[in-house]
């Protein structure tokens, strides 16, 4: 069985400083996988390497068995991998509806089309409205995305990420900087939109991680020190020592 995402020997260094020091990770289809680790462990860098926002110094990433080496982000996206960003990365001058519509264009086969009108495509409008419905932004449909509240922008970010129908969804700290109720709303949303999809997420909030993930990897100083189910991780003494203990204490 091929994994949804296969990462082997991934490294990234700036001059002498090695940020990612050889990561191996296998994520099966349909799994919800969380990557946790202390600040500066290189979680976002790992994300950026997988999605080719940066080029790795060594190592390989396979998506559904296909090597991603040398591909540009748009190609990777078309192969079915989609990601969100730690800092909201939306189109602030466009309305919510248009944001989602842009995210749908490629997957609905419009490509670089200049002969069809977006307003006239009923399926497109319906699909966009369905996703807006899904992310609970129907009431904000025609408002410029830049004036949405922070939580709404995060929701929109998730909407943009899943709209294209990618089967591997990568979320970079989806609940960062949110209040408890907002966090619950986003977790619910993530659960809803990632049904039957592979989810990879970086997250700080342990409540979110242990509530949502099927498996968890712990990244410390550019290396994965443990991978397993939430229970295994909770019980793992190395993790306890390196990281979790303090984090869990802080949670409680």
């Amino acid at each position: 069985m091929t994994h949804a995402l296969d990462i082997s020997g991934l490294k990234k260094s700036y001059g002498k400083a090695e940020i990612i020091r050889g990561v191996d990770l296998h994520i099966t289809k349909g799994e919800r996988h969380a990557i946790i680790g202390p600040n500066g462990a290189g979680k976002s860098t790992l994300f950026n390497l997988i999605t080719r926002r940066m080029a790795p110094s060594a190592g390989k990433v396979h998506l559904h068995g296909q090597d991603l080496n040398g591909l540009v982000p748009c190609k990777i996206n078309r192969m079915g991998l989609s990601r969100s960003f730690q800092i909201s990365n939306i189109f602030p001058r466009m309305s919510v509806f248009e944001n989602i519509r842009c995210a749908l264009l490629w997957s609905m086969g419009f490509r670089y089309s200049f002969w069809s009108l977006v307003d006239r495509s009923k399926p497109l409008t319906e699909a966009a409205d369905a996703i807006i419905e899904q992310i609970n932004l129907t009431s904000r449909r025609n408002i410029p995305a830049g004036v949405l509240s922070y939580a709404e922008q995060r929701a929109l970010e998730i909407g943009l990420t899943i709209a294209g129908g990618a089967d591997v969804v990568m979320l970079d700290e989806p609940t960062a900087g949110m209040s408890n109720t907002e966090t619950d709303y986003i977790v619910e949303l993530i659960r809803k939109v990632t049904v039957d999809k592979t989810l990879v997420m970086v997250e700080h909030d342990m409540g979110v991680v242990f509530g949502l993930a099927d498996r968890i990897s712990v990244l410390v100083y550019g290396k994965i020190i443990a991978t397993g189910t939430p229970e295994e991780i909770r019980a793992n003494p190395t993790v306890q020592e390196a990281y979790l203990g303090t984090a869990i204490k802080a949670e409680q």
Binding site: C74, N89, F91, S116
Partner: protein, 429 residues
């Protein structure tokens, strides 16, 4: 921001068709009757010039406003399109090829498209400063080439041809300016319509997306580079169409039409009109053409005034004239636009007086400095007076100061009125 039309999905399909077709029908009607009102050849030439500038400015705005690419060398596409169209015209003239003249701009368009394909292949890799500087360099290179490759570009004399040798279309041989006007008007309507539709296609939408956030667009499956490339070549195509129409209208293309000055001018026009709006470049082209033509007739300092207007626009209303108009949209929606009319009229008079007063001071200073010594008599605003007399200076300075002070005094009133007209919408923007 670019999305100036209200969401159309609210109305039914029939209503939608009619509602969205109305402006186009009105425009077509207006273009039809304009030459009946202004039948002088010179006015028609002016309108032709305006129409060509509109197409060019809209094509330019496809890059600047919609694609976020600042180009300093866009005139080369128009220029090359024009030169190519002239060569096609001479070919028709020399060999009697059966080409109806109305199709000629298409050749210009394809020439622009081709050149844009070549240049775009390397210039659209990046946006921002790199793109801007490549466009500047390429613009200079091609402008210089137009003087070096005389066989194709004709050097500073340019290339010329005679449009009347084409196939007559329904008996029209394009001997008269007004016949050319209708041809250009038709192309204007068609090009504007196509460019408008373009903004509503997936490509047009993605051009905006790439402008705002190229990285996000990449992670949505679109290659920012290809999106920029397509915007670039379409822009080149329409610039070429403008060039073809230019060739048709003037029957000559010189190297001047490719110069940096022309590229700079179209940037001014687009910015003046408002690059964030589809209608911005149209307004810009009309206002700029009128401003330069009309001012040029009355004063030697027209370039100074145009420059001042431009700098003031950048400083005080960076969204251009269209932005200024769009500011009134909320009030219009609230149906309170009428409340602004009286305050506007009230402030209009002192503003007008102050502007004219400042212009008068410039003119008088210019006269004192540059008129032949001993020539003290100058004529301004239908009054003849002595430019060296302290009385004249005193009056002008006094009136101007008074007008400025009145304007300042009226500003709170305007603010109140503005606030009043926009009150319900307080929360938004």
């Amino acid at each position: 921001m670019t999305d100036t039309t209200p969401q159309m999905t609210d109305t039914g399909p029939m209503g939608l068709r009619l509602k969205s077709a109305m402006p186009w029908l009105c425009a077509a009607l207006l273009l039809l009757i304009l030459p009946q009102i202004f039948s002088a050849n010179a006015t028609i030439t002016l309108m032709n010039q305006m129409a060509i500038t509109i197409i060019f400015a809209l094509a330019y705005n496809m890059l600047l406003g919609q694609g976020g690419m600042l180009s300093f060398g866009h005139a080369v596409f128009m220029g090359l399109g024009g030169v190519f169209a002239v060569h096609v015209m001479s070919y028709v003239e020399a060999f009697g090829a059966p080409l109806p003249l109305p199709l000629l701009p298409l050749f210009g368009g394809f020439a622009g498209l081709l050149l844009a394909c070549v240049i775009g292949s390397f210039s659209t890799r990046q946006a921002g400063t790199v793109f801007a500087m490549i466009s500047l360099g390429v613009g200079e290179l091609i402008a210089a080439c137009s003087l070096i490759f005389v066989t194709f570009f004709g050097g500073e004399t340019g290339v010329s041809a005679d449009r009347t040798y084409g196939l007559p279309v329904f008996g029209v041989e394009f001997l008269r300016q007004s016949e050319v006007y209708y041809l250009i008007a038709a192309w204007l309507l068609l090009s504007v319509f196509l460019m408008y539709l373009y903004t509503r296609t997936p490509m047009g939408r993605m051009a905006n997306a790439v402008r705002d956030n190229p990285e996000r667009a990449e992670f949505l499956g679109y290659s920012a580079r290809w999106v920029r490339f397509y915007s670039f070549i379409f822009s080149g195509f329409f610039a070429g169409i403008a060039g073809g129409l230019f060739a048709l209208n003037y029957e000559i293309m010189t190297s001047e039409s490719m110069s940096l000055v022309q590229s700079g001018k179209i940037l001014l026009i687009t910015f003046l009109g408002g690059m964030g709006y589809f209608v911005g470049p149209i307004i810009g082209a009309i206002v700029f053409t009128l401003l330069t033509t009309v001012l040029g007739r009355y004063t030697e300092l027209s370039a100074l005034y145009v420059g001042t207007v431009f700098v003031l626009t950048v400083m005080y209303c960076p969204r251009g004239l269209a932005g200024l108009l769009m500011m009134h949209e909320p009030a219009y929606r609230l149906g309170k636009l009428r409340r602004l009319v009286a305050p506007y009229l009230k402030v209009l008079i002192p503003v007008l007086v102050a502007t004219l007063g400042c212009a008068a001071l410039f003119e008088m200073l210019f006269h004192v400095r540059h008129a032949p010594p001993g020539d003290h008599e100058m004529r301004l605003y239908w009054v003849t007076f002595d430019s060296h007399s302290p009385i004249a200076w005193g009056i002008v300075i006094g009136v101007t100061l008074l007008a400025i002070m009145t304007t300042r005094a009226l500003i709170p009133h305007i603010k109140d009125a503005w606030h009043d007209a926009n009150t319900i919408d307080k929360g938004a923007s």
